[in-house]
């Protein structure tokens, strides 16, 4: 057996960024190679250097970043030594890259047809009308409906998924031998993600194009890549074919990553390996309390409707109930109205119609503007999506946690407040010495803990969680989920868990409600709902989630 000459061969690549605090090594000597037509996944958490590696391959690094060592040979030419003229030529013909946030990567004031034609004309000497015809062909190739009409559309008129298809069209316009996709579907809905990734995979297969998929999502890498490398802190820690990697990870980091990725069968307890459990105080996990039959619901929502000023309907006839200590998931894609619903229940937003009863009392008649004075304010709390923007930049951790205690419980500055804040910090596993720090001095996981500590500070009965882990790395997500689950059991807290991540909801919630275009599509016991969905929409959602085991089974079947 002869090994064909690799398309791309990276040897001991090092990338250094010069920053105010001196040089920072983002990539510390990685080596990998890629054959023609191969698909490779680069997996890692934020800060692992996976994107920097991608940018180094295309020499599109920031001005402050420098390839400080190693070699990248592409078709036997060393990219690190190329002149800018030959780089440009290479970008046009041999290598292309697509990015996260496709809308940001497109020019907002130029029709997409023209933008694709521009990309073609930049590298080939053909007439404008030929380029136009070709861009129409490309739009067809990326399966955009009505391509003739869409030629003249501007990026803001297209959905995120469509924009990414346009980016793909631009990237393949010059028939590159290698396509680097950096988090191409992050921020897209799970069904859109599947469509875009399937398209990318089929185009790559059709054209014999090698693909490098850079992602934080193990499931995605497993589904679409034959071989996967795992990066941690600028180093390559493990390399294997997807199946082996997920079945029997060797490196401790990979083991942790695989364990932390929620799958269809994982339980919250299993997400973290032992060494991380030490970060949160150990508490015996009691089985979830079964609400006795006939107990009045903690929260009852009847025919909730939200119409916005411009006449669009955000939520329609939404009814649900949550028992004390129960955890209910609310899933849906962007625009499904799940955030609107959660904010109405939190009384941060007024409903147009409908009734919300909390503990047997109506709270929907209190306008959101005045709810801060209502006695129920402290009983209904919320954890926000992005820990990075849910903390006041001018408050330190202590102030953040103390804030609701001062406002809602009327506590004064003093020993009692300090003790209570310390207690809350301890419950969420936040070291006491971090309480003096400001948000920008804390990591995402620490900020998430502060957000949770603030929400539970007043001992609420209902906690609304608005995508609490969407902005976190999987290993941090695992710890946070476990923390939330423990808090719920300890305090007999009820959860309304809003998320687009079905695997997380399945694990965290006893019941799940599927929302689409503001209306409930399906609801039921989580396991039942996900294992045997009754509606097509739910089935579509469930199928779109890349599951490691399912893929493993599929690949086994295909390989056998």
């Amino acid at each position: 057996m002869t090994t064909p000459k690799p398309l791309l061969d990276i040897e001991n690549l090092q990338v250094t960024f010069s920053t105010r605090r001196g040089p920072v090594e983002a990539v510390r000597g990685i080596s990998l190679s890629l054959a023609e037509g191969e698909t490779l996944g680069i997996v890692g958490e934020s800060g692992s250097g996976k994107s920097v590696t991608g940018f180094a391959m295309t020499r599109l690094l920031d001005a402050s970043g420098k390839i400080s060592g190693g070699r990248i040979s592409f078709r036997d030419r060393d990219i690190t030594k190329m002149t800018s003229a030959s780089l440009r030529e290479m970008h046009g013909s041999a290598m292309a890259m697509i990015f996260q946030n496709p809308r940001g990567a497109l020019n907002p004031i130029r029709a997409i047809g023209q933008q694709i034609a521009d990309a073609i004309l930049a590298h080939r000497k053909i007439s404008a009308s030929e380029a136009r015809a070709e861009s129409l062909e490309l739009l067809r190739a990326v399966k955009i409906r009505d391509p003739e009409k869409r030629m003249n559309a501007y990026p803001h008129e297209l959905s995120g998924g469509m924009c990414q298809r346009v980016m793909i069209a631009m990237a393949i316009s010059s028939n590159p031998a290698l396509l680097i996709a950096d988090e191409p579907t992050t921020g897209l809905d799970v069904t859109t993600q599947k469509v875009v990734m399937d398209l990318l995979a089929s185009i790559a297969a059709e054209r014999g194009m090698a693909t490098i998929l850079i992602t934080h999502d193990l499931g995605l890498a497993a589904r679409y890549c034959r071989r996967v490398v795992v990066m941690e802190q600028g180093r390559l820690v493990e390399e294997a074919d997807a199946l082996t990697l997920f079945r029997s990870p060797q490196h401790p980091y990979t083991k942790r990553l695989v364990a932390a990725s929620p799958t269809a069968t994982s339980r919250v307890e299993d997400l973290v390996t032992d060494d991380e459990k030490l970060l949160v105080p150990a508490v015996p996990l009691a089985p979830p309390p079964k609400p006795a039959h006939g107990t009045p619901p903690l929260l009852e929502v009847l025919d909730l409707v939200k119409r916005f000023d411009d006449g669009t309907v955000g939520v329609e006839n939404f009814s649900m109930a949550i028992a004390p200590g129960e955890s209910v998931g609310l899933v849906g894609e962007s625009g499904s109205g799940k955030s609107t619903t959660s904010r109405m229940i939190c009384r941060l937003l007024d409903q147009t119609e409908g009734v919300i009863n909390f503990n047997g009392q109506s709270i929907s008649h209190i306008p959101a503007r005045e709810f801060h004075q209502a006695p129920q304010r402290r009983e209904i709390q919320i954890v926000f999506q992005d820990p990075n923007d849910s903390l006041n930049p001018r408050f330190n951790a202590f102030d953040c946690i103390a804030h609701p205690l001062i406002r809602l419980l009327g506590m004064r500055n003093g020993a009692a407040l300090r003790r209570r804040v310390g207690e809350c910090a301890h419950r969420v596993g936040l070291p006491a010495n971090l309480l003096e720090r400001f948000p920008h001095q804390l990591s995402g996981g620490q900020k998430a803990r502060i957000g949770i500590a603030r929400a539970i500070a007043c001992r609420p009965k209902l906690l609304v969680l608005d995508e609490p882990t969407a902005a976190l790395d999987v290993s941090v997500q695992a710890v946070v989920l476990q923390l939330l689950d423990r808090l719920r059991r300890e305090d007999n807290l009820a959860f309304l868990f809003v998320s687009h991540d079905l695997n997380v909801v399945r694990m965290m919630c006893q019941r799940t409600i599927v929302l689409r275009n503001g209306a409930i599509v399906e609801e039921g016991e989580s396991h039942q709902l996900f294992d045997s969905p009754k509606t097509d929409y739910t089935r579509e959602l469930v199928d779109a989630v890349p599951h490691i085991e399912m893929i493993a089974a599929e690949k086994m079947a295909a390989g056998a």
């Binding site: 105010r20 904010r343 941060l348 849910s390 406002r407 809602l408």
Partner: protein, 282 residues
């Protein structure tokens, strides 16, 4: 101020020493503004006709004017009035503008639209002419210069605060503050305003220079400050009569003082922006 901020400031100053010079200049200006009357070599108002229109010399660094008053002393003493007018005008427009703008930016809706139209109307006038008209209508007094300067500056602060608050109003921590029991108004005043303050301080510093020019300009055309009070604008106006006969120092030195003052505040504002907001660094 934490040590990290100081470190950051030191880093900026190393790359941009002009900010340091501007800061020293501004500090000097403020010192002169406060202690000017006590440190000048001559009485700025007492006339001495025998000594009139002397060119700069060792005794009179900036020469003397048509009444024999020492120009240098007058420039130093004038700093007090000019700075007082500029600082109080900027202070008033900042205080009002920040609160109005923040409320508009947070609430949106009718208030925002009404204030927005008012600001548009205000800005449709040539601002200096508007200030002239206001001083003429309100009465030719120093307080009215302050009020006029404050009003014509107001739109910038309203717009600035509105925009800064508007981008933050949907952030998690604003909603979190409400979930923690704060009313809308308290969210604006206790959460949003402190967060936009640093950016507004930059705006104030840039605006100070402009307010000084505005005050001097009004005096130059005879509004507000009256002779013999030393004031840079009046000094330039009075000196202008003698420039054709070669008495350049009457105009040049007060003009220079005016220019340096404005330059200092502008450069300081640019530097502050770099220190407070690294993203805007060029």
């Amino acid at each position: 101020m934490s040590s990290a901020t100081l470190q950051h400031a030191a880093f900026i100053l190393r790359g941009n020493p002009i900010t340091g010079i501007a800061a020293i200049g501004a500090a000097l200006l403020i010192f002169v503004g406060i202690f000017g009357p006590w440190i000048v070599p001559y009485d700025p108002i007492a006339s001495n006709v025998q000594n009139a229109l002397m060119p700069p010399s060792a005794a009179h660094w900036a020469g003397t004017d048509q009444l024999g008053r020492d120009v240098f002393s007058r420039i130093i003493v004038a700093a007090q009035l000019d700075l007082a007018i500029a600082v109080s005008a900027v202070g008033i427009s900042f205080a009002l503008g920040a609160v109005i703008g923040a409320l508009c930016g947070y609430s949106g809706g009718k208030l925002d639209r009404a204030v927005g139209r008012f600001v548009d109307v205000l800005m449709a006038f040539p601002l200096f002419v508007l200030a002239m008209a206001m001083v003429a209508a309100l009465g030719n007094r120093v307080e009215n210069i302050v009020i006029a300067t404050a009003i014509i500056n107001l739109p910038f602060y309203i717009r600035f605060a509105r925009a800064e608050v508007n981008v933050r109003r949907n952030l998690g921590w604003v909603e979190a503050a409400r979930a923690c029991g704060d009313s809308h108004i308290s969210v604006v005043l206790r959460f949003l305003l402190p967060n936009v303050l640093p950016a507004m301080v930059v705006q104030m510093s840039l605006n100070l220079g402009w307010a000084i020019i505005n005050a001097a300009g009004l005096s130059f055309i005879g509004l507000g400050v009256k002779p013999p009070t030393p004031e840079w604008g009046i000094m330039v106006a009075e000196g202008a009569r003698f420039i054709s006969t070669g008495k350049w120092w009457l105009v040049a030195f007060p003009g220079l003082a005016l220019m340096l003052a404005v330059l200092c505040f502008n450069l300081l504002g640019d530097g502050l922006r770099d220190i407070l907001d690294p993203r805007q660094r060029t």
